[in-house]
């Protein structure tokens, strides 16, 4: 039985081209699908980013841009457009790239893949339409008994079905590649990372269906009641796991970028794959950290899911955090940058936005998103920050400085290699990851700062101007919100430049022809490194060791500082 008979499509002779920079065989049907998904992603990032800016400007007390009703509408639209639509469209593009392109294979059932794409578009539009109508400002988590218009849930369901089709196409393409022997031995590491993402996606989408379909029926009046706690439990199996799809996908992009730009091979296939395997086994359990403050669930469930098991998954991330810079250092030393401890890093292609986007994502995901995530995921410490702005601060550190920045960096590879267009305005493109990175780091850190000072999340007016009992936050909290607003403007500017460069390149970029020299060149061994199984082996990496030591010291210090805060609450003097 071939993969086509399984999913009921007719196998067709595919049309290929050979990439002049990587030597990879590219199925033209896969290429068109990657383009469509990438373009859709960018459009939704634009919408969601503008809404994010308006939210941040509202939370800046001196500006207080939107009225209350619009604030919650914009907040709902922001979450859905950036966290779901931008990221998942981009991930579907990553899945098609990591299967068809990296394995030199034709994509399974392209027509079916287009059906998935159309469902995702229709779903995303429908949800946006419901949000804009104003009766679905239930925010991203849509906890009952708050109820949105039926189209809000229906849109999400259609979008999820479309994304599930994308996963099926991905797995079917893997099967075809194996049957038709388009690669030798094991799949390359980047493809393995994509497999991790797709596996988590299947669990995510299934959980989403289990909870959103009844909720949709409830909004139609066909079901009388949705238990709020049951909703939260199952909803977070989706809501948290989506973030783990993101982590797997952006870690894959880190490896991909290091391979293509520097010729980097993984230090050890065994170690990196084991780290991804930890994600597959344990990462999704961490969903429970969203329910740490719920009285209805007992501590053993909480502790097993968020501590014992989840630390194994965190270990996976730490392994990647070591092996990605390690692979970069090893490759750069091979490329001749052997002087001292840090020549490899100083002489890295910092002017190439694909590299700077990737490296900034790596550093900030670890330092900002990672450390704060472990603190928040610790049951005892969670109570310090629960439902404060610290929470959005943390996850902007993961999904914005981590995932979004990695995807932006990856786009500067997709434009020349898949769209076959030369990047217009390279100077602006060079600046873009830095501008967006600084802004995004700012919103993450300042929201975390405000949260530490007690400012709640999802709150329209922290001056409590119409409250019967007066309450005032500290001046520090107001300062944090102002700095957050300024950072939001920087991030929005960086995001706008990204959209302009991408749209400009897709529409007006110079068509790349044979023999063209890329503005942002690849490593000559990049294509081979990214598409084959193989380890670099043991090498001396003094620079990486120093970087990792700095990370651990920061981590441990910050972790224990929070225990100290906690002890002060308990007044054990």
């Amino acid at each position: 039985m071939t993969a086509e008979t399984v999913i009921g499509a007719v196998g067709k002779q595919a049309e290929f081209r050979t990439c002049q920079y990587t030597g990879l065989k590219v199925d033209v049907a896969a290429q068109t699908l990657i383009k469509a998904n990438a373009v859709a992603a960018v459009v939704f990032l634009l919408i969601g980013g503008l809404l994010g800016l308006s939210v941040a400007l509202t939370r800046w007390p001196a500006v207080h841009l939107l009225p209350a009703e619009w604030f919650y509408l914009a907040l709902t639209g922001h979450g859905a457009n950036v966290l779901l639509f931008w990221i998942i469209f981009f991930e579907i593009a990553v899945l098609y790239f990591a299967s068809a392109v990296l394995l030199n294979c034709r994509i399974a059932a392209p027509k079916f893949a287009w059906l998935g794409f159309i469902l995702m578009i229709v779903g995303a539009l429908l949800t946006n339409y419901a949000v804009l109508q104003g009766d679905s400002s239930v925010m991203f988590t849509s906890y009952p008994p708050m109820q949105a218009a039926p189209n809000f849930y229906l849109g999400l369901i259609l979008f999820a079905v479309g994304a599930l089709i994308g996963c099926v196409i991905f797995f079917a393409t893997l099967v075809i590649a194996k049957e038709e022997r388009t690669y030798e031995g094991s799949v390359p590491l980047v493809t393995f990372g994509a497999i991790t993402a797709a596996i988590i996606a299947v669990f995510t989408i299934a959980s989403g269906a289990v909870i959103l379909i009844p909720t949709w029926l409830w909004s139609l009046g066909l079901i009388s009641n949705i238990d709020p706690l049951m909703y939260k439990l199952v909803w977070w199996a989706m809501g948290h796991s989506t973030q783990q799809i993101n982590v797997s996908a952006h870690v894959s992009i880190w490896y991909l970028t290091a391979a293509l730009l520097l010729g980097a091979k993984p230090l050890s296939e065994k170690v990196s794959r084991t780290a991804f395997f930890m994600y597959i086994l344990f990462l999704q359990l961490a969903s429970a950290h969203h329910l740490l403050a719920e009285p209805g669930l007992d501590s053993s469930w909480k502790i097993v899911n968020t501590s014992y098991m989840m630390y194994l998954a965190v270990l996976g991330s730490m392994v990647h955090g070591l092996t990605v810079p390690g692979a970069i250092e090893a490759a750069q030393r091979k490329n001749g940058y052997t002087k001292g401890v840090f020549e490899w890093l100083r002489k890295a292609p910092w002017g190439n936005p694909a590299f700077s986007g990737m490296f900034l994502s790596l550093v900030m995901f670890g330092f900002i998103g990672g450390i704060s995530g472990v603190v928040l995921g610790t049951e005892q410490l969670n109570v310090l920050m629960h439902n404060t702005l610290y929470v959005p601060g943390h996850f902007h550190g993961t999904v914005v400085t981590g995932t979004t920045l990695a995807f932006m960096g990856g786009t500067y590879l997709v434009l020349p290699l898949i769209f076959q267009r030369e990047i217009i305005w390279p100077k602006l493109a060079k600046l873009q990851p830095y501008l967006f990175g600084i802004g995004a780091a700012g919103i993450s850190l300042f929201m975390m700062g405000a949260g530490t000072l007690g400012v709640p999340r999802r709150h329209w007016d922290i001056t409590f101007s119409d409250a019967p009992i007066a309450f005032a936050h500290s001046a520090g909290a107001f300062l944090m919100m102002g700095l957050n607003g300024i950072s939001a403007i920087l991030a929005a500017l960086g995001g706008a430049i990204y959209v302009i460069v991408v749209v400009g390149t897709v529409l007006f970029g110079k068509k790349i022809v044979g023999g063209h020299k890329l503005t942002f060149p690849l490593h000559s061994g990049g294509g081979a490194a990214v598409s084959h199984y193989g380890s670099e082996g043991a090498v001396k990496l003094p620079g990486t060791i120093i970087l990792i030591t700095i990370f651990f010291v920061s981590f441990v210090l910050y972790y224990f500082i929070n225990w100290k805060y906690l002890s002060e609450l308990w007044l054990f003097h």
Partner: protein, 53 residues
């Protein structure tokens, strides 16, 4: 391509690598573990909360 030597096909592939190469086994594990430990166990906790009278 010169730096990458293909593994000779006669060489035995280590067991762990064979497990990691088995995508559908991984898919099974990745769906089952969270379904049991997080969802089923969690749902059991919730349904055992006594109803208020």
């Amino acid at each position: 391509m010169s730096t990458l030597e293909p593994v000779p096909s006669s060489e035995r592939v280590p067991t762990m690598q064979r497990i990691l190469d088995n995508t559908f086994l991984l898919l099974f594990l990745g769906v089952t573990i969270p379904t049991v430990l997080y969802i089923l166990w969690g749902v059991m906790e919730l349904v055992s909360i006594p109803l208020a009278k």
